[in-house]
């Protein structure tokens, strides 16, 4: 596995630099209303924008324009259906590594360079690198983790979910 499965494994990337956080956006009352009411439950019908426009006090075309503007401004990362990867035969596994400061950037960039790594966060703990392996099968995620261990020389601690508890997140705008 370690025998150069991927030629680009040691390619230098800037991936260990944190993605810039945006400053809080300027939102008016209508934007906040849209954000607070439409995080879920967008209808599946012929004219869905029309169906919900009145609940936020807008006309159909105004609501469409507003959502487009919120997307452009980066207030929204997405608008649409959120698929559940687990239900679709895919696999997601949370994992962590404990990296010394001197090696952190180099190994974090290497982990990021693997296409199966979806999320990667630096966190304050002895386990300081937390990432999600995502692929079509659990075996493929596992082989990515083994590859990372083999090439980096550091352990990958696997934290597969044993049970998911229902949550309903509503970020108040």
């Amino acid at each position: 596995m370690a025998g150069g499965r991927r030629g680009q494994a040691h390619r230098k990337t800037s991936a260990s630099k944190p993605i810039a956080a945006r400053a809080p956006a300027q939102l008016d009352a209508i934007d906040r209303n849209i954000l607070n009411r439409l995080q879920g439950g967008f209808p599946v019908c012929e004219r869905p924008f029309l169906a919900v426009a009145s609940t936020v006090g807008l006309e159909e075309d105004e609501l469409i324009k507003r959502i487009g503007r919120l997307l452009e401004a980066g207030v929204l990362t997405r608008f649409g259906p959120l698929f559940n990867a687990d239900r679709m035969g895919g696999a997601n596994v949370l994992a962590a590594m404990s990296l010394p400061e001197a090696d952190f950037d180099r190994i974090a960039a290497f982990v990021n360079a693997q296409p199966e790594i979806a999320h990667n966060y630096r966190r304050e703990h002895a386990l300081n690198l937390w990432f999600v392996g995502a692929a079509e099968t659990p075996e493929k995620v596992e082989s990515t983790f083994r590859y990372i261990e083999s090439v980096s020389g550091y352990l990958v601690y696997r934290f597969p979910k044993e049970r998911e508890f229902f949550v309903e997140l509503k970020l108040e705008a």
């Binding site: 995080q39 012929e46 469409i64 239900r87 990021n112 999320h119 949550v167």
Partner: protein
């Protein structure tokens, strides 16, 4: 784990909505036209995927940072094995918890078996949320920690083999 086989229509729908719903008065009709099926089929399949849980929800996904939720903390708890499922259900229902999972411990480094992701505008707020969870867990919790994020190093969307 509950796997549902993806139909060719599912794959087409995932592909067509990967970047989001079209911003047009009849978005499902636009998707139908794009993938070459009827709008009724698109809507019926999306409704079914919501019922089965293959689609968690349809709506806006806010950027936490843009809304000022800049302190994200992964709270982790060592909860008695015979109580963790019941307590996890209760914690998942708290408004400020975005994800809640039971996961294996990795002793001795990692004694925690319950993970709850907390989002707040400041670390003080996140710490106060954690206190609420601590009160709820009571004596069933032996140890806990909050791992704050020091930066997103990578974030990509759902990847599915097409």
């Amino acid at each position: 784990m509950d796997h549902t086989a993806l139909t060719p229509l599912d794959l087409a729908l995932i592909g067509a909505t990967q970047t989001g719903l079209p911003l047009t008065p009849r978005p499902y009709h636009a998707i139908a036209e794009q993938i070459g099926v009827s709008a009724e089929e698109v809507m019926a399949r999306l409704a079914l995927m919501q019922e089965s849980g293959a689609i968690r929800r349809i709506g806006l996904v806010p950027n936490h940072y843009a809304l000022g939720y800049v302190a994200n903390g992964m709270s982790v708890w060592d909860v008695a094995d015979d109580r963790v499922d019941e307590l996890g259900e209760q914690i998942g229902r708290l408004a400020f918890v975005s994800h809640c999972y039971r996961r294996p411990r990795r002793l001795p480094l990692w004694p925690y078996n319950l993970f709850a992701m907390l989002h707040g505008k400041t670390r003080e707020i996140v710490a106060a949320y954690a206190e609420e969870i601590r009160a709820l867990l009571g004596e069933d919790c032996q140890a806990s920690d909050i791992l704050y994020s020091r930066g997103i190093l990578k974030k990509t969307g759902l990847r599915i083999a097409m």
